[in-house]
Amino acid sequence: MAKKVKAIVRLQLQAGKATPAPPVGPALGQHGVNIMAFCKEYNERTAPQAGFVVPAEITIYEDRSFIFVTKTPPTADLIKRALTIEKGSSDQKQKIVGKLSQDKVLEIAKVKMKDLNCDTVESAVHMVEGTARSMGVQVD
């Protein structure tokens, strides 16, 4: 019989650098999860990808046990990589930090589709465009 799920928590963290400090501590501590156990396992699994943000999806059960899987990098990171920019614009109104072609948007949308439970490519494309705009990246 399937175990009762208490919560599903996704964390976007720097690979290999999870610590019991916020956000990990409060996010998992409130569910009674063994924070150290998560951090240790996350760091051990993701340390080879140091320098990237590697999201983890943690399924927490009623008995406080948990499992987690690592996911594709956040959309913002894929956009940054596509444009090879360091960070997004700090002032989205004033500064456009780059332009993303439709081809690139589609490419990123396809990568992210399975992780986001998007039903259609169109909805994934909209999501990528929205993220790009929030970063001060124009979509052509």
Partner: protein
């Protein structure tokens, strides 16, 4: 902030840009595994701002960013809440019992009462937001091996000390001198508090840095460590084996923890390239702890 799944990536990017350490995205409680009915629903996105930092400016920047997003569709309001460290820490403190490790070690959370037996070696601990409660298999195995391999009078290096638990255990077990290093300033603060709590300040010095960055200080101490303990992860351990070998006495002992079953082979290969001789591998579930010896051995 509560948002629909389609806005999750855009909003979480802003939260990650201005928040501390990363972002939390929460889905709904009470669903059965395999039940996909939550798809398309909303999620709650959270991040944390340290009140010690420039949080007002960061919050303002985050709000500006969100305001910009509103142009593409309505968003629910941003909610903020002040959280004391104790509030969320209390959740796990409840599950941190006093516990025995190895033959004589007793790890006593600072908020619990205990009357020690004559043979007990008690470690008083409040791990705060640092690693090392002694409950996780990796830390527990390191404590057990310390108890076996540490000789009174040893000089000990603890790499990635976290809460300071292993350094304090080494001091309580008779080490003459312990250098505890951590690259995380928060861990250094917590470790120092725990060192003071155990009154081993004269034995244990806690320094921020790694072997590479704190080498000057290490050499000033003119130490060739008799025993090195490193409870990290396999990638970091493999990378540090060179500096560890240079910092250790040529007949020193080495305890390596935090290595997974999958990472074991790489660490073993790296160790053998530095002429490190494995004495034993201890297992607990997916975790492996290695005990090794440097230099001159029957095989060397």
């Amino acid at each position: 902030m509560t948002v629909s799944r389609k806005d999750e990536e855009a909003v979480s990017w802003l939260f990650r840009l201005y928040g501390h350490g990363g972002v939390v995205i929460e889905e709904f409680p009470g669903v059965e595994e395999g039940d996909s009915s939550f798809e398309g629903r909303t999620v709650v996105i959270k991040t944390y701002l340290s009140v010690n930092g420039r949080w007002i400016q960061r919050l303002k920047s985050l709000e500006d960013g969100l305001h910009r997003l509103v142009i593409f569709g309505p968003l629910s309001p941003l909610r903020t809440q002040h959280i004391e460290e104790e509030e969320w820490a209390a959740g796990w403190k409840e599950y941190f019992p006093l516990h025995r490790v190895g033959s004589h070690l007793v790890v006593k959370p600072s908020w619990r009462e205990y009357s020690p037996l004559p043979e007990d070696v008690v470690i008083h601990l409040d791990p705060g937001m640092a690693f090392g409660t002694g409950l996780h298999p990796t830390t527990r195995m390191c404590l057990e091996e310390l108890e076996i391999w540490l000789r009174p009078g040893d000089s000990v290096l603890d790499l990635g000390t976290g809460s300071g638990i292993l350094a304090i255990a080494a001091a309580q077990l008779g080490a003459a001198k312990v250098l505890a290093l951590d690259i995380d300033s928060l861990a250094v603060r917590v470790a120092r508090e725990n060192v003071a709590r155990n009154q081993v300040e004269s034995t244990v010095s806690v320094v921020r840095g790694s072997l590479g960055t704190s080498r000057g200080r290490v050499s000033r101490d003119a130490l060739k460590f008799d025993l090195v303990v490193a409870n990290l992860d396999s990638t970091t351990i493999s990378r540090l084996l060179g500096p560890i070998t240079r910092a250790a006495d040529k007949e020193g002992r080495l305890i390596l923890g935090g290595i997974s079953q999958d990472g074991l082979e790489a660490v073993m290969a790296a160790a053998s390239s530095y002429g490190i001789h494995m004495l034993r591998v201890v297992e607990d579930g997916p975790w492996r702890t290695l005990v090794a010896r440097f230099g001159t051995t029957t095989q060397g």
